[in-house]
């Protein structure tokens, strides 16, 4: 093949350099923020003149920040659970079903991933205003579930495609009802996919800001919304500390997922 990595020769060095550049470009702002969150300057000066943990102390002492973090966690957890449940049902019908329009349904369920988020946010907001869900936790969770759904469907459907249905059939001849077979055999067999779906869905909600701004109310604010609001009010290193924590949790969850996948593929 033309793009066989092993045959690229000297182009490999170019490719490696380019990849490193892209990675640096993507990661530098994050590194920058994390460094600033430990810097002693009140004015976010770079490079920091001294190091301190006081912004983190300030952050953890402020109930508004704690509340925002808890709200984020609660909404992300509920969105993750819902998205995994709906994702499971959707994946079964997408992978196993033989109905016309299956591809269409698949496309439809994955659109939130490609649809401009602002468009989605405005549409959902307008709709929720009308049916009285705007500014409610339920509305927030539903909106985030829709956004998270593709991130649940992709890993679950992939795992299900890789699972031989004969194994489920074997459980059925063994005497398990079709439901029992799915619960006791199929679900445990694709558990890594389900777990990935839960983590990705959680993260899709956890660091989402656009829809969250529309769904938020003064009493219902997630961490990214609070960060966004604070940035505009006063540019304090506390915001950098909050952002660093956000990134930290995201990173932890990604690492856990990667480790689990690695262990199960061995």
């Amino acid at each position: 093949m033309l793009l066989d990595y092993d045959r690229l020769g000297w182009l490999r060095a170019v490719l490696a350099a380019f990849t490193a550049l892209v990675a640096a470009f993507l990661l530098l702002p994050v590194v920058f923020i994390i460094l600033l969150s430990f810097g002693s300057s009140r004015w976010l000066a770079f490079p920091p003149t001294g190091w301190t943990l006081k912004w983190y102390q300030e952050l953890l002492a402020d109930p508004a920040w704690i509340n925002a973090a808890l709200t984020s966690a609660k909404i992300a957890a509920m969105a993750a659970i819902l998205s995994v449940l709906v994702g499971l049902l959707a994946s079964f019908s997408l992978v196993r079903g033989e109905f016309p329009g299956r591809q269409l349904l698949r496309g439809l369920l994955l659109t939130p991933m490609v649809l401009p988020v602002v468009v989605f946010a405005i549409a959902v907001y307008a709709f929720f205003l009308r049916i009285g869900l705007a500014g409610t936790t339920i509305g927030f969770v539903i909106a985030h579930t829709i956004l998270a759904l593709p991130f649940a469907i992709i890993p679950i459907a992939t795992a299900l495609e890789g699972f031989d249905k004969s194994i489920e059939d074997a459980a059925i001849v063994c005497g398990a009802s079709p439901l029992q077979a799915r619960l006791r055999i199929t679900l445990p067999s694709i558990r890594i996919g389900i777990f990935s779906a839960a983590i990705f869905s959680f993260l899709a909600s956890w660091d989402e800001v656009v829809v969250a701004i529309f769904m938020a109310s003064p009493t219902l604010q997630t961490l990214p919304v609070k960060i966004w609001g604070s940035l505009r009010a006063d540019l304090s290193p506390v915001v950098a500390a909050a952002s660093s924590l956000l990134v930290g949790l995201t990173l932890c969850l990604m690492i856990v997922t990667a480790l689990l996948r690695r262990r199960s593929s061995r």
Binding site: S166, I167, I172, V173, C174, G175, R184, I185, S189
Partner: protein, 359 residues
Amino acid sequence: MTRPFLSIRAVRKTFGAFVAVHDVTIDVPKGEFLTFLGPSGSGKSTTLYAIAGFQDPTSGDVLLEDKSLLAVPSHKRNIGMVFQRYTLFPHLSVAENVAFPLRVRRRPDGEVKRKVADMLALVRLEKFADRYPGALSGGQQQRVALARALAYDPPILLMDEPLSALDKKLRQEIQAEIRRIHRETGVTILYVTHDQEEALHLSDRIALFKEGRIEQIGTGEDLYLRPASEFVAGFIGNSNFLPAEHLETESGAATVRLADGSIVKGVKATHALSRGQTARLMVRPEAFRLTPVSGNASLAVEIVDTAFFGDRRRVVARTGSGDEIDVRPSSDAAEPAGADAAASRRIFFDPAQAFLFPA
């Protein structure tokens, strides 16, 4: 007549306009090892799935001890099945896999434990009880699958090409295991394979499938020595087919004229043929001899190649009309080597071991 144990009655299965199984009828006595043999796509699995309940037949019925199975959902049929694919539950250990059917039947713990131990002993995998399927070879996985399928003492065991993913040596080993297990448990087995040697080795009876129909059903000997059609003769064992013209038939013994003009009397005719009808004369490779016995017919050939295989020789010969013949005479003293390549000579066969089929 005693009632059959399992009765497959005029089972038919269509997919759209395509008929995968044409009114298949078979009665299976208790304890029999019956094999569905046939080329890929001939409807063997579909028939088996109708018994397992994964495919509802379009028409027909499946009766077990006179009760129809069709209204019973798969998981309540209490049938054992081993699949072509590896179907052990990947997240359960070998022992838990075998225990699974007993657990869903809510059998008491003590009984489950005892039964699992018995089953693992039956397939000789006691030492592997705590392994996970991923750490087993293909042959071991299929033996565990067999143990799992027998754990709940099913009246019937279905096996759909369970050895097709294994290499030849392992296949023969497990065939021997399957025979022993059949003998020890007395379970009624319906076995699907496309491998005629496997079918001959294992079965009490073989049902040979062709395009959704049963072409012939009988013991291996029946099919090999008394093939009902050219298809059966070609599928079971090796066969040579020589073009022939039918001259006359008298009480099952036919007279034919071969391509070289020679007349052969007393070949077996399984079909009614008219005078002058073109036909094909089937002779097994091992029915040919290099030295004549009285009453034998003979054929003028040119030797193309010879090879020695210990108990047999293999000689490739070509007739005057260009047909290649596979000849496998036994390599004992009565059959001297004297068959050099490129030599012209005669080879011999007993007409009573030749079968005439319509062309």
